[in-house]
Every structure is written in C-alpha cells, then in structure tokens.
Amino acid sequence: MSDKSVVKSGSNLERVLSSGHFAVTCECGPPKGADVELLEKKVALIKGCVDAANVTDNQTAVVRMSSIAASSILVKNGMEPVMQMVTRDRNRIAAQSDVFGASALGIRNMLCLTGDHQSFGNHPKSKNVFDLDSLQLLDVVRTIRDRGVVNSGDPVQGGIKMFLGAAANPFADPFEFRVIRLAKKIDAGADFIQTQCIYDMKRFRDFMKMACDMGLDKSCYILAGLTPLKSAGMAAYMNKNVSGITIPEEIIKRIKGAAKNEQAEEGIRLLLDQIQEVREIPGISGVHIMAIEWEDRVREITERAGLLPRPLL
C-alpha cells in the first residue's frame, strides 16, 4: 500500500498531487517511426498545459517509437513524461532492465499496464509475452524502488525513483470486481491511477463511492480519464467498438444535435462540463485528458476549463 506522505520520485506530477493541486495530464503518442520532429511538435503543443504527459507504449498493439525513447525525448524538451509500459511485449527480465534504463534517462513516472492484445494491432500474428500482468509489474517495480532488489531477490546497483501509476476501468465487467481490482493495484504499489475515459457519469460516481468507502483515495491519487468526442460518428464508433466504453444515449444525442461543423466544438463543451463534474466527485485528484490525435486542442481545453496556468513547484 502506497503511503502518500513518503516521496516516491519527486516528479512534477507527484509534487502537484501531494501539494493538493488538481492535477492535469494528457497523452502524447509517439510516432509510427523515428520522426523526432513530429514528437517535438506535439510536445510544443502541450507544454505548459499539463503537469505530465503519458507516452503510450505501442498502444492498440500498433508499432511505434518505444515509450522509453520517446519519454526521454520529452525529458530533453522540458516536458515531464509518464512512461507507459505494457507487459504484452516484455518479460520480467526486459521489464526490469527497461525500468533501470528509464530511470537512468531521467524518467520519474511510469504507468504499469498489461496492454492491448496484439490481435487489435498491426501485427496480429506476433507472439505475446504476458510473463507478468499489470499488477505484478507494479509489484516488481515497487520492490526495486522500495527494497532495492530485483524480482529474483538480487540487489540492484543504484536504486530508482519512480512514481508508479496504473489504469482502472470502472466500465468493464464484472462491475463489483472493478473496485476490488483497483484496491489490488494500490496494494501492489500504485501511487496514482488514471481511469478509462468516462462518459457514464452515474456509473463512475458509484465506482468512486465504493472506492472512497474502502478508503482507497487516501492511499492513492485518482485521476479521472476523459476523451473529447470529435463528432457524432466518433461517439457512435467508440460506443459500438471499444470494449469497456459505454457512451450514454443522451451524450450521443447531444453531439448529434449540433451541426456537422459544430460537433467538435460541442464535444469540447461536453468535455469542459465533464471536467467540472469530476472535480466535484470526492476522491478525484485530477484529470487525464486523452485527446486522441488532438494535441493541438489541449491548450484551448485546459485554458477554457480554468486549469491554466499549471502550478510551478
């Protein structure tokens, strides 16, 4: 179980959260190749708008620049990364080695994930690893950080400082198990949580009530995940095709109700409403804005949501 009063890595994200500010993170997906300029352009768009940016690890199992390398480029460009790491592509040897490497490159936040199954990506014939699941990865990295030993028990040469995160999906099934799984992730070492994107606010409130009743918000910072809808088409697509995401009919109607060229603006207005709503939910310490391939709107979104300027700590 994480103790909030003990400094884990001293990252900007950790400092923002531990000083009681409402944190803001977003995503910064690496390019599908070695195009550093493309990544740096994205960084320029979000710099100053968020406390840290998640660097995804071959998300949806599509091959991209490695999250460690991309995170390191963010560090060089003055943007704090939350390096995502999935267990789909690496066993415990590679995972621990990569954590050492990430720490050496100045990366101070990581998000431990199992990762999307490779059948969703561009190499569906590949072999997966899943030597560890996301909870075991948390446990392994936490043990390196707090006890100075790798999974085998061997001592490390030079410790790591890492603020450890995990994902939570309150919208997948079985619903009653979702909060138990969250508790397990916190037990396994999660210092912060970023949730799957929230559209069903009622179900999210129920989830958070259960989490707070168990006292989970006391030992972990929970950031509410939000994704702006660009169009009614995107809403319908996500509702139908993305497992674990349900978009209530009234939201689809709201976006549909706007004229075609106004739907993106309506999506942003909806997001701003959602940000205000989650701010009021007990136990929520921040927002994780997943503006998928919409980094150029992050400044506007955070500005209009009253989240700027970000604290300088």
Binding site: D116, F130, D131, D133, Q136, D139, A167, D173, A188, S243
Partner: protein
C-alpha cells in the same frame, strides 16, 4: 484430451507429391474422439488423396491403418515393422503432434508428415465443439480461481482479475467466441462464497515448469521397481 484440427487437404497432398507408396495412420485416442484423426478420417483422407492424385494422372498406393495410440511404443511397433516390411515411402500421421514426433524418432529413413494441426488441451463442451481448458504450465494455480484456469482461458493469461476488455461476460479479443474467464471465475467464487480469494495478489508466476523452462520430462520412479 488433446484437440487437433485437419490440415487443409492441399497442404497434406503437397507434402506427398514425391512419394509413391504412402501410409496414412490414424490414432484411436484423442484425435478419434475429436473427429479429426480416427479410422473414419483416415479413410476420408486416403480416399481424397487417391482421387486427387488420380485426377492428376498419377497413380499412387495409399494404405490405411489406425492404431490405438501413437504415443505408446506397444501400439507403434507394428506400424514401424509394416513401414519396413512393405517398403513404404512416406507416412502421414493423423495423431496429435506427440504421435508424429514419437513415430518420427523411430522411423529411420522414412519421412513422416502431419495431417493435423494440434491445437490445445480441451474438452468437448457441446456437440461438435471443443474448447481449451488447460495450458500444461506445470504449476497449477486453479485452487485460487475456483478450479477455472486463467492461464489457458484468458487471452492475456492474467492472474489477478479481468482486464478492461471484459464486457457482458465476453472477451474483447473475440466476443462472439470467447467467454471472459475472469467473469466465470468471479461468478463461481461468488457462488462458493469465496470472493475473498480474489482479493489477494498472485505474485509473478514461476514459468520454469512450463515449456519456458526447457523440454520437460516426467518420471514415475515406482514404475522402475516393477
């Protein structure tokens, strides 16, 4: 049981182009039960090969046999003798991969080809349908999961509960055909009044007992005493 599916006919025929006298051997155990490699399937494949090669204008001798088990020397020895005595050029096995290997190790200079794709350890869950139930990982953890195996039946082999891709009891990898095993485990433990079992973290698993630890053997010392 071990489940295996027939290979595409043309693939099997392709293996045999260069051989004249061919023996198709079935297996009377698992692949008979899962209707891919028993006596009937031997007859079907052999007839198909005769017809197909005949249409190509090439007359080959296709022989048939089905033994009780291709993974036991007692049953395999007569096949080895037959291959030798009848100057058979090639063997097609309709056993699982175990049978093909076991014969290959003993066939000397005679080539052997698989007629099946061996898939998994499974059960006959309904008529005409087999489903994977065990991954043979060598260190069984299902005492913690209500007797239901997430190593074999979760698409990501997760040990600590369902991922975000579990929806209405189905797995996002193929909702039409795959159940979310963690939903099954959850429901079963709930019925057993043992949901507490899921509260504890299962640490990183020891995979050295699975195939990751190298090729495995299993001994029963008591048998050597007989």
């Amino acid at each position: 049981m071990i489940v295996a599916d027939p290979k595409p006919f043309l693939q099997v025929k392709g293996y045999l182009e260069d051989f004249q006298k061919i023996l198709v051997v079935g297996c009377g155990t698992c692949t008979t039960v899962c209707l891919s490699g028993g006596e009937a399937e031997v007859q079907i494949l052999a007839s198909g090969l005769r017809i197909a090669f005949g249409k190509d204008g090439r007359k080959k001798t296709i022989l048939e046999e089905c033994i009780q088990r291709q993974c036991d020397l007692e049953f395999v020895e007569p096949v080895l003798s037959r291959v030798e005595s009848e100057n058979i050029d090639a063997v097609v096995s309709l056993a699982c991969g175990v049978g093909v290997n076991f014969l290959a190790d003993r066939l000397g200079k005679t080539p052997i080809f698989p007629g099946l794709d061996t898939t998994f350890y499974g059960a006959n869950v309904e008529q005409g349908l087999w489903a994977e139930m065990c991954a043979g990982c060598g260190s069984c953890i299902i005492a913690h999961t209500g007797g239901i195996c997430p190593v074999a039946r979760c698409s990501k082999h997760l040990l600590n509960g369902p991922c975000g891709g579990s929806e209405k009891g189905r797995c996002e990898v193929d909702p039409a055909n795959i159940e979310c095993v963690w939903q099954l485990i959850y429901d079963r433990l709930k019925r057993l009044g043992r949901l507490e079992d899921l509260r504890h973290l299962l640490p990183a698993k020891d995979w050295s007992t699975a195939s990751d630890g190298g090729v495995r053997r299993s001994t029963r010392e008591q048998l050597y005493d007989i």
